[in-house]
């Protein structure tokens, strides 16, 4: 708790706390300097604000290092270390314990935020937006550093120092993915603070030209790529550790990361309308305000325990503080946007329904409804509890899927049309002509899938729409290659942004196919096996239990069932951790395959090593989700590379898109 004075008990804790207080002071100073610089238009003061950033970044880096050192040294005079670490953990667990609990993860968040602010301070151009964008970053910093240094300080000392710490949450110890997923998530969440800062800067200065959108696209793209990777990494973690063979459960905290993703995806498309056509100016401001706010909302949901969830392992005053900050972000964004509304009017003629803009806007519509559905489903039980005074409602996958599947299919449909359409307007006839090969490809693929035995309408539609998308992107690429008389490498070099977007779309299709097949055709059976017993046939596989072994570690124990599946050894474990005796954590054995995974999880295991109950799950195309994500991220990176000098260009004919 709030404990800023008693530094005595712990040297490292005192150093860390001093670093945080220093960072807090500099954040405040930076905000003031930025405000003065902005109001007076004094470049020198703005420059000072820019440099103050460096101090904040340096001090927070120091704080992070101090906490890591305390964790590695098992310095239990620091409360966070005593409560979330222990001497017997492996080194990598100690390192990742930095973000295993509330205080540390807020420190990580603040540090990443200061890192972004630092990069921003290096790349920010000397224009009127500068002090305001910096100032907005300082507002965010002030909040996160403030929370870190006060109500959620990881450095508060302990009066009586325990000999052994309590160790990290077992759920965070049983997979290396926990070293990756939270960091990716924060990189994604926090990355959105920069576009938000630019939006505020644009609103304050009234420089609502499309400059902020151009600059913002790259930052948003980076954040989006991290967010995508983080969400899938989280899914992969569930898949590898929770033992139910799935990767997405519409858990409130999963939802909390998905809402910003949906809004950011909408934003990435919508800003292109502004960039190209000068339309949708106020819409884009609203979208980024919503997107950044939704990351704070996500953290609030995660950390306040207001929605029941496996992730909500922290309570305390932090929730309320986050709610306040969320309100501030929204009010700041909304008030500024309302004030500048007259300047935000679009001057160009509005979009035609059949045009690139039309497709993007329709996509925006579906993305927003999607985000609303996810938010509603997540908060509905809380609303009911609020009104009725008791927990009396649950919203499960049935609700989310009922809307997510049609909305997702609708988005796939639009995704195929979008790249085909030119900006401004297309005439209906040529659109139909251009769509014909796509529709034929989709129909053909759907038929093939049907003949191959696929009967589920959702899966058939996903297959058809994927083929339709691929056909569209393929045709556009081939056409461009012919017109330019250039190969694919040249096209990639000349228009990395366009082909990066195509690649990201292909990755999303691969993910969509993986999701459709793995959820629909997952097979799942359980059986009890005896050691040395005859092979048992399950889901077309021969299962035989060779032996059961038990390993004891300083930080816990693990029991392993050595099962042969069709002659191949599967070592499926059940882990237990010292912090949570009585709570087994399954560690399934997964054999990954391009066409399907074989997944074996121990449900129970005999203490005397005689028998074990196992669950065998076979799901097709799960790996496509992981590979698809890699493709998406590669595509995103490609969109960020600067284009090579273009060769002489021809004006494309027909419906070939006129621009990126």
């Amino acid at each position: 708790m709030l404990n800023l004075i008693s530094f005595g008990a712990s040297e490292l804790g005192a150093l860390g706390q001093l670093a945080l207080l220093g960072a807090l002071g500099f954040s405040l100073a930076g905000l003031l300097l930025a405000l003065v610089g902005g109001l007076r238009g004094d470049a020198r003061v703005s420059e000072a604000a820019r440099r103050v950033n460096w101090a904040v970044f340096a001090l927070l880096t120091l704080a992070v290092i101090v906490l890591e050192v305390a964790l590695l040294r098992d310095d239990f005079s620091v409360r966070y270390v005593a409560e979330h670490s222990m001497t017997t953990s492996p080194v990598w667990i100690k390192l990742t314990t930095l973000w295993a609990a509330l205080e540390g993860s807020i420190l990580l968040w603040a540090w990443i935020l200061s890192g972004y602010a630092f990069i921003l301070s290096l790349t920010l151009r000397r224009d009127a937006l500068r002090p305001w964008a910096l100032g907005t970053m300082f507002v965010s910093l002030l909040f996160f550093v403030g929370v870190c240094a006060t109500v959620a300080s990881p450095f508060t000392p302990l009066a009586s120092i325990p000999a052994e710490g309590q160790g990290p949450n077992p759920a965070l110890q049983n997979h290396w993915m926990m070293a990756v997923h939270p960091v990716l998530l924060y990189l994604g969440f926090v990355g959105l603070s920069v576009p938000y800062a630019y939006a505020v800067g644009a609103l304050v200065t009234g420089r609502l030209s499309d400059h902020w959108v151009v600059v913002t696209r790259r930052w948003t793209m980076v954040a989006w790529a991290f967010l995508t990777a983080a969400i899938v990494a989280g899914g992969w973690w569930s898949y590898e550790t929770l033992g139910w063979g799935g990767y997405w459960a519409w858990d409130p905290v999963e939802n909390a990361s998905f809402i910003p993703w949906l809004l950011t995806t909408a934003f990435l498309h919508s800003i292109q309308i502004q960039e190209r056509r000068g339309l949708m100016r106020s819409w884009n401001v609203w979208l980024i305000v919503l997107a950044y706010s939704s990351t704070v909302l996500g953290t609030f949901l995660n950390r306040s325990g207001i929605v029941q969830s496996v992730h909500a392992f922290a309570d305390g005053p932090v929730g309320a503080v986050f709610l306040g900050f969320l309100a501030l972000l929204l009010v700041l964004g909304v008030a500024l946007a309302a004030w500048r509304a007259p300047l935000l009017r679009d001057e160009a003629d509005p979009a035609a329904p059949v045009s690139r803009e039309g497709a993007f806007l329709a996509g925006n519509w579906l993305f927003l409804v999607f985000a609303f559905v996810v938010l509603l489903g997540t908060l509905f039980p809380t609303f009911v509890e609020f009104v009725q005074g008791r927990r009396d409602a649950s919203v499960g996958p049935a609700f989310f899927n009922a809307f997510a599947v049609p909305l997702g299919l609708g988005l796939l449909l639009l995704m195929g049309v979008g790249p085909l359409l030119p900006w401004r307007r297309a005439d209906g006839h040529s659109l139909v002509r251009a769509l014909r090969p796509l529709l034929l490809a989709g129909l053909g693929a759907g038929l093939v899938a049907f003949v191959a035995g696929v009967r589920n309408p959702g899966v058939l539609l996903t297959v058809g729409l994927s083929a339709y998308n691929i056909a569209g992107l393929g045709l556009l690429t081939v056409r461009a290659a012919r017109q330019r008389r250039a190969g694919l490498p040249t096209l990639l070099r000349e228009q990395p942004r366009r082909y990066g977007a195509y690649l990201a779309h292909v990755g999303l299709l691969v993910i969509a196919l993986g999701i459709a097949f793995s959820t629909t055709y997952r097979q799942d059976q359980q059986v009890t096996l005896n050691v040395g017993g005859a092979p048992v046939r399950l889901l077309n596989e021969e299962l035989q239990l060779r032996r059961i072994s038990r390993e004891d570690y300083p930080h816990g124990a693990s029991a392993t069932a050595h099962v042969d599946i069709d002659g191949q050894p599967f070592l499926s474990r059940v882990n237990t951790y010292r912090q949570a005796p009585g709570q087994p954590f399954p560690a399934p054995a997964v054999r990954y395959g391009l066409w399907g995974d074989t997944y074996l999880v121990v449900t129970t295991i005999d203490v005397r090593g005689q028998w074990s109950s196992v669950r065998l799950i076979e799901s097709p195309l799960v790996s496509w989700i992981w590979w698809g994500t890699l493709i998406v991220v590669l595509g995103s990176v490609l969109t960020l590379t600067p284009p090579a000098r273009a060769a002489a260009r021809r004006v494309p004919a027909g419906l070939a898109p006129a621009t990126d």
Partner: protein, 168 residues
């Protein structure tokens, strides 16, 4: 320590397959599974369904679902049975009635309202617009040039915000 807890989970699983489980046809089996997926384990914190959960109560509830399916009770009757005992909290697929209408109706409403708004935005096209050289394709321009242009505009000192709104 590890041994103790492993035994404890063993006890749970043994109960999972009671000897007196009614024989279900394949169709009934599917129905039972889909009902189990929509019932929440009343004692678990993480919102898992009784079909996933290994808690004793979930095992008993699964047996009860199978019993009731075997007796030919309707889905609705089975859900009501559990809602009466454990509260609406156990219904992972909230009924589409009463306050559930709010939940199920709001997305539909959002879809409709959004669609109407979209139609309005795109429909403005029909009205005559002062600046309207339609159908002229936007000339292809490389990202670089464009960025340079915008940068130049924004750099221009004392530029009127209105002036840099319309790109040449």
């Amino acid at each position: 320590m590890g041994a103790a807890l492993l035994t404890c989970s063993v006890a749970g699983a043994q109960a999972a397959a009671p000897a007196t489980a009614p024989a279900l046809s394949a169709e009934q089996q599917d129905r039972a599974v889909s009902i189990e997926r929509n019932l929440r384990c009343p004692l678990c914190d993480n919102g898992e369904s009784i079909s996933e959960s290994r808690a004793d109560i979930s095992i008993q509830m699964r047996a009860s679902v199978r019993d009731q399916v075997a007796q030919g009770r309707s889905d609705r009757a089975i859900y009501d049975f559990f809602a009466e005992r454990y509260g609406n909290f156990v219904l992972l697929d909230p009924p589409r009635e009463g306050r559930g209408l709010l939940l199920w109706g709001a997305p539909v409403l959002a879809l409709l309202l959004g669609g109407a708004a979209l139609a309005r935005v795109l429909g403005r096209r029909g009205q005559p617009v002062p600046t309207a050289p339609v159908a002229a394709p936007v000339p292809e321009e490389s990202y670089d040039t464009y960025l340079a242009q915008v940068r130049q505009e924004v750099h221009t000192p004392n530029s009127d915000p209105a002036a840099d709104r319309e790109r040449p």
